[in-house]
């Protein structure tokens, strides 16, 4: 089914006004488009692109909505959805990999894999995702900030725009969320298998 930019714009507006059905239609659309694009970039190295979160999201935007002028709220709403979709794609991918690794012939992946070339710990996305879910239960705004920033690749300003709050609020929220999540991940690392 090919959906026209007009339909998408309408869905965005409806979903923004809180129509759950519009949201239910829209999210898979964004998800599929994002996934398709990400895959294409990954396969087609010739394009010379390195995968960039904002570039991906903007390209999905152009594909689904085109040049249509959107009300800023709808536009912001779109970026919120895109970040959500991106998170889902990455988490699904990480699950796949974890499953593949389990079946594989690797024995001691512990510190070896946890430390990347530059000497910093690599983040286990699945553990981070769980911690983020927990954070959202008592501070949903921080949960969204992290989703928009880390998964959607949005800047502080863009995040403030999407959430309709001030930049300093996002700034502080982001810092605090980082501290909390980092601590949770460290705790997790101590119990990690």
């Amino acid at each position: 089914m090919k959906v026209s930019p007009k339909d998408v714009t309408q869905m965005l507006a409806d979903s923004c006004r809180g129509h759950p059905e519009a949201l239910a239609n829209l999210l898979p659309l964004v998800y599929n488009e994002l996934r398709r694009l990400a895959r294409r970039y990954l396969r087609d190295e010739r394009s010379g692109h390195t995968l960039q979160a904002t570039a991906l999201v903007h390209e999905v935007y152009l594909r689904l909505i085109g040049q249509t002028d959107l009300h800023w709220q709808n536009r912001a709403h779109f970026f919120g959805l895109a970040a959500q979709a991106m998170r889902r794609i990455l988490i699904e991918h990480a699950r796949h990999q974890r499953a593949a690794k389990r079946g594989g012939p690797h024995r001691s992946l512990f510190l070896n894999d946890a430390v990347d070339g530059s000497g910093k710990r690599e983040v286990d996305l699945l553990v981070l995702d769980e911690a983020l879910n927990r954070l959202a239960t008592f501070d949903s705004q921080k949960g969204r900030i992290v989703e928009l920033r880390f998964f959607g690749g949005l800047t502080i300003q863009e995040t403030a725009h999407v959430l309709g709050v001030s930049t300093p609020t996002v700034e502080r929220g982001w810092q605090m969320a980082k501290l909390w999540l980092h601590r949770e991940l460290q705790k997790g690392a101590l119990h990690d298998d």
Binding site: E45, T50, L51, I89, F110, V115, G153
Partner: protein, 390 residues
């Protein structure tokens, strides 16, 4: 956690963050008076400030999180890199993946291993490291060291390099499969020492010696793989003149700090992030020899937490090999990864002997030699692999 409790914690933490570090303690004394758990929460958050500085600052998708192909149809298999066509993935780790590849230009038939650096990880530091590896390996020419053949960058900007493809078993699996006697194990081990010694003479410390990096071919020849994290020991003294200044700086900057390593074979100085010297390889070889001789790891590493690892590696004294063979344990089979029970009988059977015979062979000289290689302080170990091997 309730929303109210969190709001309280956050408010205090935010206020503390706005104060200079020197004033925080006094502020927390006042703000958390009578609420020890509040203070503990806030302090544990504040403690993250430095370690979390760069945390999540690069969007997830740009860290290479999507790099590995999602399903078998969506892979790099069949792709060409230079004259080579990727045939199958034969391994992957923190830095990227290794593929078996074949020359596709009909010039001659040759199988090679291609190491491809993970997307999103092609930072300058890693590129430098890989460049190091290329140059270092190009100077190495030894029958027991897998040779570097070529290197380059894909059109998409990923670094790769091409190495001898070695078909063989990890040394522990090889010794197990062939039930090698202590004598034969020592012989194999000394061949490895000679290769490591050769590398030292070119100022190269391996830093990650472990069975997975030491394959033994069907002909019984050991091959050392993966000098991926090798660094020139003393770049300015190497005399090769091939390292430009920034490489030397890089080598110095990364001389300490958390290195990619395999905890089971990491020396105390590696675990602590201290300077790595040839003695670190002596240690790793000591662990390897311990395992080859006894079938047990020097330490009982049931725990997997980094802190506990560090404590064990830095503080615990291993049993003498001749004592260790008396242990009953369980380990993953080196060949098929299934848990197997290790008993004095099984250990000696695998070494072509009986428990009392094996104990006699190990006690005395071999006990002392292995324990000397495993000394906690680098200066107390053998001064070189050659000394160890002799």
């Amino acid at each position: 956690m309730t929303t109210e409790r969190w709001q309280r914690i956050e408010a205090v933490a935010q206020a503390a963050l706005e104060r200079a570090a020197t004033q925080r303690a006094a502020f927390l004394d006042a703000a958390c008076a009578g609420d020890a758990s509040l203070r503990e929460e806030v302090e544990s958050l504040l403690a993250q400030q430095e370690p979390a500085a760069r945390f999540m600052e690069t969007p997830a998708v740009e860290t290479g999180a999507l790099w590995r192909p999602e399903d078998p149809t969506d892979t790099l298999i069949g792709r060409r890199l230079g004259p080579y066509e990727l045939r199958q993935e034969i391994g992957h780790g923190g830095m990227g993946a290794v593929y078996l590849a074949e020359r596709a230009d009909d010039a001659y038939q040759k199988q090679v291993a291609i190491k491809l650096v993970k997307r999103g990880m092609d930072t300058n530091a890693i590129l430098l490291r890989f460049r190091n590896e290329r140059q270092i390996l190009a100077t190495l020419d030894h029958p027991n060291i897998a040779k570097l053949l070529d290197g380059g960058t894909t059109e998409g900007g990923l670094s790769y390099f091409v190495m001898d493809y070695v078909e063989g078993l990890p040394i522990d699996a090889y010794c197990g499969t062939h039930k090698l006697s202590v004598k034969d194990r020592l012989k194999l081990f000394r061949t490895i020492c000679a290769a490591v010694q050769y590398a030292y003479e070119h100022h190269i410390v391996h830093r990650d010696l472990k069975p997975g990096n030491i394959l033994v071919t069907a002909e019984g020849a050991p091959k050392l793989l993966d000098f991926g994290i090798a660094k020139l020991l003393a770049p300015e003294e190497s005399g090769t003149g091939i390292l430009p200044v920034q490489h030397r700086l890089e080598a110095c900057a990364t001389a300490t700090g958390l290195r990619p390593m395999t905890p089971e074979y990491a020396s105390p100085e590696q675990v602590r992030g201290e300077a790595i010297t040839p003695a670190s390889d002596v240690y790793a070889l000591g662990v390897l020899l311990y395992e080859l001789l006894t079938g047990h790891h020097p330490y009982r590493m049931e725990t997997r937490t980094p802190k506990e690892f560090e404590r064990i590696i830095c503080e615990e004294m291993p049993d003498k090999p001749s004592t260790a063979i008396g242990r009953i344990g369980e380990s993953l089979d080196a060949v098929d990864d299934k848990p197997v029970r290790i008993t004095p009988e099984s250990v000696s059977l695998m070494r072509d002997g009986r428990p009392d015979g094996l104990r006699r062979q190990l006690s005395g000289d071999l006990d002392n030699i292995v324990l000397m290689a495993l000394r906690k302080e680098p200066v107390h170990r053998y001064p070189s692999v050659k000394a160890f091997s002799d």
